[in-house]
Amino acid sequence: MEMTVLIAGFGGQGVLSAGKFVATAALMEGREVSWLPSYGPEMRGGTANCSIILSDQSIGSPILNQTDVLIALNNPSLDKFSPMVKSGGLIIVDESLVKSVPNRQDVRLIAIPASDMASEAGNMTFATVILLGAFSACTSSIQRETFEKALLESLPERHHHLIPQEMDLFDQGAAYAGQS
C-alpha cells in the first residue's frame, strides 16, 4: 500500500514542516517514507510545497506525477496541483485562504477555515496542524498517538509546551473533516 501526499502553500505557512510531521509519524509506524521539498525559484516570497510518499514497500521515485492527497493552503497552489490528484483522491483546503475550488466530481474535497481557526488560537502556523487532523481523519493512515509522538520528536524542546494545544487543534480538524 502506497499513499502520496502533496502539501502546498505560501512560503512561511509551514507546509514543509507539516510534511515532515507526516513523514516522521509514518516512519514511527514502521513504514517506508520519502519527503521531497520544492526548493526551486518559488522559494523566496513565493510558494512552497512538499511531496510525501508513505509505503509498505521500498519507495521508487520520490517525485510525484500524481497524488492521492493534496493539502492546499492557498489558491495558486490549489489551481496548480489539483489536476494531479488521482480520481478517488482527496483534496483538503484551507478555506480561509482559498476562495475558489476546482470543479472535480471524482475526488473528495474537504474545506476547513484553518487559518481563521489558527488565528483565533493565536498562532497562524497552527493552520497546518488543523489540516493534518483532517487528513488523519479522512485517511486513517496515521494514528493520532503517533502523530503526537512525531510532534514531540520533531519540535525543539522549547516548543513542547504547545503540543497539547496543537493536538487539540488536530482533533478539531479531524472533527471538522468528520462532519463534512
Binding site: K20, A23, L27, V33, S34, W35, L36, Y39, S61
Partner: protein
C-alpha cells in the same frame, strides 16, 4: 544498525563524512547543497574538527589539496558551476596522488542555469573536466541511505587509491528526506600515510614533498603510467552496479541516481502492459559497469537498451561503448530541472518494442 531516522540527503552526507573520520571540511556556499556546510558548521565544533568557509571554490579545493597533503581525511562539496571552478584543482590532486572526497549535487546547466536537479555533469565527472589523463572514482547514490553508505565508502576508496572520489548526486537527493540507519561504527580503513607532510624526525625519514610537476617527459610519462595502472586495478576491483528484473527482459533500461528511481517505477508500469523491463543501475559511474550492461543486454530476449538521464545524453555514450553494437541503444532525457515522467519513459519503451 541503529534505528532509522528521517534526515535530509545533504545532512546525511555531512554526518557520514564525520562518521568516516573526516575532520576537515572546506567549502563555498551554493544551492542546492549548502545544508552540508550548515550542518558542518555545527557538527565540526562538536567533533573537534574544522569547517572553513573558503573565499571561493577554487580556494576550497586548494585547501583540500593542502589538508590532504598534510594527511587528513578531507571533504569539499559544491554544485555544478562551483565544480567547474575546481577542475584545475582536481587535476592537481590526481597528479599529486592525493586522496580527497568531493560531492557534486548537480543542478541544471549550462552557465548559471537553474538550481533544480539534473545530471548534466556526467561527462565532466567521468571523463575528466580538468586537463590531462586522469580519472576520479565517481559514485552515484540513489537514496539517502546510499548517500550515507557511499560517502563513508568514498573516504575509504580515496585513501586506498590515493585519488579523488566523487559523489555525484542531484538536487532531489540532496534536498529529500528519507529514513537512514547509521551503523554503530564505520568500517574505516586506517591507512598509514607515510607520504604525507606532517613534519618529521630527521632520524626517521627524509623530508616529504608533494607535487604534480615532472619536468622531464620520461618522469611525467612514468607518473601517467602509474596512474593508468592504478585505474586498471580499480576497473577490475571497484565496479559496482545493481541489476533489477533483468533476466529475460524485453528491454533493458540503464539509469543512475534519482533517475533510476523513476525507472524502477516504470518496471511495474510496464509489467502491467506485459512488457518485461529490466534496469541496470550503475553505482560507480567511473569505473563504468560495462560487464553488467553487457550481461543484461546480451540476452536473446532483449530487443534494445534504453538509457534515461536527466541530461541531453551523456552516460548513453558509455552504455554504447559497453554494448558495442550488440543491441540498439536508445536515449531519453529531460533537462533544466524537469524530470522524465514514468509515462514518457513507458511510451518510449512501447515505441521500441512496438506494443
Amino acid at each position: 544498525m541503529n534505528k532509522r531516522v528521517l534526515m535530509k540527503g545533504n545532512e546525511v552526507i555531512a554526518e557520514a563524512a564525520v562518521r568516516a573520520g573526516c575532520r576537515h571540511y572546506f567549502g563555498y556556499p551554493i544551492t542546492p547543497q549548502t545544508e552540508i556546510m550548515h550542518y558542518m558548521a555545527r557538527r565540526m565544533v562538536e567533533a573537534g574538527g574544522v569547517m572553513v568557509q573558503a573565499e571561493s571554490e577554487v580556494a576550497a579545493i586548494n585547501m583540500v589539496y593542502g589538508a590532504s597533503a598534510a594527511g587528513a581525511r578531507v571533504l569539499t562539496t559544491s554544485s555544478s558551476p562551483g565544480i567547474s571552478l575546481k577542475q584545475e584543482g582536481f587535476s592537481y590532486i590526481a597528479g599529486a596522488e592525493l586522496p580527497a572526497v568531493v560531492v557534486n549535487i548537480v543542478r541544471g546547466g549550462p552557465g548559471l542555469g537553474g538550481i533544480l536537479p539534473a545530471q548534466g555533469d556526467y561527462f565532466q565527472a567521468t571523463k575528466g573536466g580538468g586537463h590531462g589523463d586522469y580519472r576520479n572514482i565517481v559514485l552515484a547514490p540513489a537514496s539517502v541511505q546510499e548517500l550515507y553508505e557511499l560517502t563513508v565508502e568514498a573516504f575509504n576508496l580515496a585513501d586506498r587509491y590515493r585519488m579523488l572520489t566523487m559523489i555525484l548526486g542531484d538536487g532531489t537527493l540532496g534536498q529529500m528526506m528519507e529514513p537512514v540507519a547509521f551503523r554503530e561504527e564505520e568500517p574505516i580503513d586506517s591507512s598509514d600515510k607515510p607520504w604525507a607532510v606532517t613534519g618529521f624526525k630527521a632520524a626517521e625519514r627524509e623530508h616529504n614533498t608533494i607535487q604534480s610537476i615532472y619536468i622531464e617527459a620520461d618522469d611525467l610519462e612514468a607518473l601517467n603510467n602509474r596512474l593508468q595502472d592504478k585505474y586498471q586495478i580499480i576497473r577490475q576491483q571497484e565496479v559496482r552496479s545493481e541489476q533489477v528484473n533483468c533476466e529475460n527482459a524485453d528491454v533493458i533500461v540503464a539509469a543512475f541516481g534519482t533517475c533510476s528511481r523513476i525507472c524502477r517505477n516504470v518496471i511495474r508500469d510496464a509489467a502491467a502492459l506485459g512488457i518485461h523491463v529490466g534496469l541496470v543501475r550503475p553505482i560507480t559511474l567511473w569505473p563504468f559497469p560495462d560487464a553488467a550492461v553487457v550481461s543484461a543486454a546480451d540476452q536473446s530476449s532483449v530487443q534494445a537498451v534504453l538509457t534515461v538521464e536527466l541530461n541531453a545524453g551523456q552516460m548513453v555514450e558509455d552504455v554504447r561503448l559497453a554494448v558495442n553494437g550488440l543491441k540498439p541503444v536508445y536515449f531519453h532525457g529531460r533537462t533544466g530541472g524537469n524530470m522524465p515522467t514514468q509515462k514518457e519513459i513507458l511510451d518510449k519503451i512501447r515505441s521500441i518494442v512496438g506494443r
